[in-house]
Symmetry: C2
Subunit: 613 residues, 2 copies
């Protein structure tokens, strides 16, 4: 019977048995890390979690995120107990084509985000809790954390943010089973080592025996009644209930040697079903009223930094759409996200200097599908959150990221502030879109497209002001490019700051009788292969130029597009090759040989070579 | 007079004035973030810091790391006061060719590491302190942190590790000036919000008025006498001493509007010099005695995972060289760093699941140039530390990184554990080396080369066992490749797991009369352009195949090398294009179309196209 201690005890044993069974069928997996948390989950799903498994998209639902994603056998056993999957499907764990992957992914409709890279579930949960609160919905966010992952700094970013925001709708359950992959964790069973730090950050912390059903029940009741985020620090035993593995080192991440004996020890197989509580009431997510209005426009030739255009466009988009939210890493006056913040303070979240938490919160926001998050910081500092971006792609998350201050053209601040690897690293994210506008008009148009794009959409903006190239109303598309100048002797492909250098070079080339085609590659991924192949055929020589390291950026993207289409041309890649220092933007573009003069020289040489060959 | 309160007060004012002057000369910079910490530095350099500026490589020296790298005007003012640079050089701040970059870099001999990406100085300092302790040297590590950067999780990884390790030689001074870039920090002047958390992690924390010279003096004395790491949490005022900016928002990161007035307010220019204390005693760094021994060898055809070969080779190298240290992110039984740990427990540091701190500690170890750090985790999880790796390159750090479990070939664990972007992201690190061996023999040879390589050297290893291809004693080099099979109809370029698929494909091609050349591209960066250009010329058709996303990996590296040398060939890039799930390695290689069958098909097609054209 639901809520009954005997039932819960039996349910916990079933979750253990099923974790052992599925891992045994798979020949791999993490049964022992599942068994430690089985009682915590049994009590949670039998009386606390409010989730309609038949309607996973119901916005009133609670969220259950396994931050310790390797405890997937437990998660899938919970799904079976909740009647969401069959026992047959449970035993497809880790097999080709199964929805039950080694670590949970949103291929399963009840999984909000992919986990398995530790220390991500809690920070993402902070984002989900922020979204639910903004929606004025009763949804509670339950996060199961492992104790090993508490060593990740991202966990403590989350703890700090949840505390600062008083996220009473967030409960973290820490499964302190003491044993990591190779040995004991840093703190063993010292529950207070976790609790004291959370307490210092404004959480309520409750230390319990994670196998005592009443203590678990009391802790959940307290969490539900509390007005602050709650951390339940539970002392548990890894592999609890089976002598072969209980509380023993060396038993991480593998099936049991004698599953039959362990299952017998646990009382055999069961086939209990839990009526997981459904959310009550008829709340619907709050939608911000918006006044509408036009997107900003600029006069051709006007000098505007694309980062400024980003801010203005995002603020205007916020007037047109109530679903836009923005997050920034305490540099909103540099990224110009402050324009949005000033216009829509209720939909702006200050993430301070915690880029991992910022991206995680963006992922959390989109989990509930009611808001579209735009997150911004210096492009260089998105590298701090690279693992979160990687995992966001596995989560099939739709988020917009903006990185300002790209490349040597930022000038005096020096290399620590210069993104020179962002195009490469963001291109190498599954399904990503990489945009790099050269002027304000295209920036605004692309910001609008970002709001409806799928997957990880990244925009790189430029610090310095550049002239507006396009008339208001000009159309841009993901995967498109613009031939800014036509020509047939040589093609110059640039984007962002280098497009303006390319145009200056083309002017000088023209004065010497060399007709250069200039392509604005504002969509670096997907790339406009048609335009590039046509340019290769029609001009036979291409110079690419980028304010980025040579590896993985625009040059290689162009080469890959040409190779894929069997097009050949002489291609010269201009990119940053030496470590820059501090100087003016002009001096640094010159030193890196990605300015008009360098482009002119390369184009002249390559056009000449073409004539000779 | 040294140690005198009046002198220190005057010195603090000089540091402020000089910070204002250099920023004014540069037209940019962070004087206000410098002024808040001026008194903290005045007392530090006049009586506490032990650093012989004339002998920056003296291993007895203390270390002074500005984790808040944007306070570079203060750092450079300190250098001037210490007589290390002239006033003329001070005024070259942020100018082309100056050593005084916007944020400090090791172009200056007294700078240990580049900072400017916040939250890195303290974790690196943990590494420096660990190294100094291992060397049994008295060097103390002083870190100046800003309060804004305390929001970075990496800071708390460092706090936890320093506490766990009881690093009494580490002192963090937190300049709590309350104001970040855009507004107040999360905790304002709530000093205890920082102190309580550090205390919970085993630190001694001391809260002081950061402008009270006696309180500063007492705090430093306590830190020096303590047996735990000490966090001095100092309440300060941003822009202290100048009405135009003191404790005012909106004054971050720009020169003063009226520097003359501020300088007058601060008592005018001074030209004080401090005799910074030199280290005493004649301690020399402890060197581990080693027994010597051979590197491991394997029989051709024997099946050995390259991750296992990495562990064995590293352990053997540890027998031959006392300077090798290893760090691992709590997965040493997966990366096989455990072989080193078991053989050389004194030189192994368990970094738990804190990849940022792991890489930071590796950077810290190499600061002192006495040990060569090898840091390992799953290749996917190095993405967690990407910003640290990026900054390590700016630090001109020499570190070896090893990432195991690359690509879909890991099998059942699923995409969260599969590195599919590591080649792209690590290639896009300045001066990096990217190695990807296919067998045990080459792995061991490359591990030996890694120990003497400069810059960031990354090795990608494979989870599953693969046959040994090379005889013991075969030579390998950074930037080299091996033509494993000769042929003239088509070239197949693989590395790691795909090389074995390439060989299987070549066998099938041979049986059908197509002669395939197979190249082992074990050095992905630098790349063996000669061999690739030769292959392009001699076979006219190239298939590249990699267990990695299509962007930025082996395919694009090959295309870039060919383009750079003006070589043309039909190139077909095989790489992972769809999000993988969980299944066996064989099934996943097949599904991704990077197995022998896919290579065979692509090679047949491309060879055919070549014949037709």
């Amino acid at each position: 019977m639901t809520g009954d201690t005997d039932f819960r005890r039996e349910l916990g044993q079933q979750l253990r048995v099923d974790s052992i069974r599925s891992s045994d069928a798979a020949g791999s997996g993490h049964p022992t890390s599942s068994m430690s948390a089985a009682d915590l989950l049994a009590v949670l799903i039998d009386g606390h979690l409010k989730l309609d498994f038949g309607r996973p998209d119901d916005p009133r639902n609670d969220h259950l995120i396994f931050s310790k994603g390797h405890a997937s056998p437990l998660y899938y056993s919970v799904l079976k107990a909740a009647g969401a999957i069959s026992d047959d499907e449970l035993l497809t764990f880790r097999k080709l084509g199964s929805r039950l992957e080694g670590h949970p992914t949103p291929i399963l409709p009840w999984v909000d985000v992919a986990t398995g890279s530790l220390g991500q579930g809690l920070p993402i949960g902070v984002g989900v809790a922020l979204a639910a609160r903004l929606e004025r919905m009763p949804s509670r966010v339950w996060i199961l954390c492992g104790d090993s992952e508490m060593a990740e700094g991202s966990i403590w970013e989350a703890v700090e943010h949840a505390g600062k925001q008083s996220l009473a709708n967030l409960t973290a359950v820490i499964d302190v089973n003491r044993l990591g992959q190779t040995g004991e964790t840093m703190h063993g069973w010292d529950l207070n080592s976790y609790g004291a730090r959370a307490e210092a950050a404004g959480w309520t912390t409750i230390e319990i025996d994670g196998h005592d059903l009443q203590e678990i029940e009391d802790a959940y009741n307290a969490a539900e009644a509390g007005d602050r985020p709650t951390m339940i620090v539970a002392r548990t035993k890894k592999g609890k209930g089976a002598k072969e593995v209980e509380d023993l080192p060396g038993k991480h991440g593998k099936p049991l040697a004698d599953p039959a004996a362990a299952i017998a020890e646990l009382g055999g197989e069961r086939d209990l079903r839990v009526d997981v509580a459904k959310p009550e009431g008829d709340a619907t997510p709050y939608t911000f009223e918006v006044p509408g209005g036009e997107m900003p426009t600029w006069e051709k030739g006007e000098k505007v930094a694309t980062r400024k255009a980003y801010g203005e466009a995002l603020a205007a988009l916020g007037n047109r759409r109530g679903d836009i939210v923005a997050l920034d890493g305490e540099v909103s006056n540099s990224t110009h996200a402050e324009d949005f913040k000033n216009a829509h303070p209720d939909r702006f979240v200050e993430m301070y200097i915690a880029e991992q938490q910022m991206v995680a919160a963006a992922v959390g926001f989109q989990v509930r599908r009611h808001y579209k998050p735009f997150a911004s910081t210096f492009a260089a500092f998105l590298s701090r959150a690279y693992d979160f971006i990687r995992m966001a792609a596995i989560s099939r998350a739709d988020i917009a990221l903006c990185g300002s201050h790209a490349g040597v053209s930022i000038g005096e601040d020096g290399p620590s502030q210069m993104a020179l690897e962002d195009l490469a690293s963001l291109r190498a994210v599954h399904g990503s879109t990489v945009l790099y506008p050269s002027d304000a008009t295209s920036t605004a148009a692309l910001v609008e497209l970002m709001a409806d794009a799928e997957g990880i959409v990244y925009m790189r903006t430029t610090r310095g002001a550049t002239p507006v190239l396009y008339d208001a109303g000009e159309e841009f598309q993901v995967g498109g490019s613009k031939t800014v100048l036509d020509g047939d002797d040589v093609t110059i492909v640039g984007a962002g700051i280098t497009l303006h250098e390319a145009l200056a070079a083309a002017e000088r080339l023209a004065s010497e009788g060399i007709s250069a085609r200039v392509i604005d590659l504002y969509s670096v991924k997907p790339i406009d292969a048609d335009a590039l192949v046509r340019a290769a055929k029609e001009t036979g020589a291409i110079v690419t130029v980028e304010d980025h390291w040579k590896e993985g950026g625009i040059g290689e993207a162009v080469l890959a597009a040409l190779a894929e289409h069997g097009a050949s041309a002489a291609v010269r890649v201009l990119a940053v090759e030496e470590m820059p220092g501090s100087a003016t933007p002009t001096e640094l573009l010159r030193a890196a040989e990605i300015d008009a003069e360098a482009i002119y020289a390369a184009a002249t040489e390559i056009a000449q070579t073409k004539v000779e060959s």
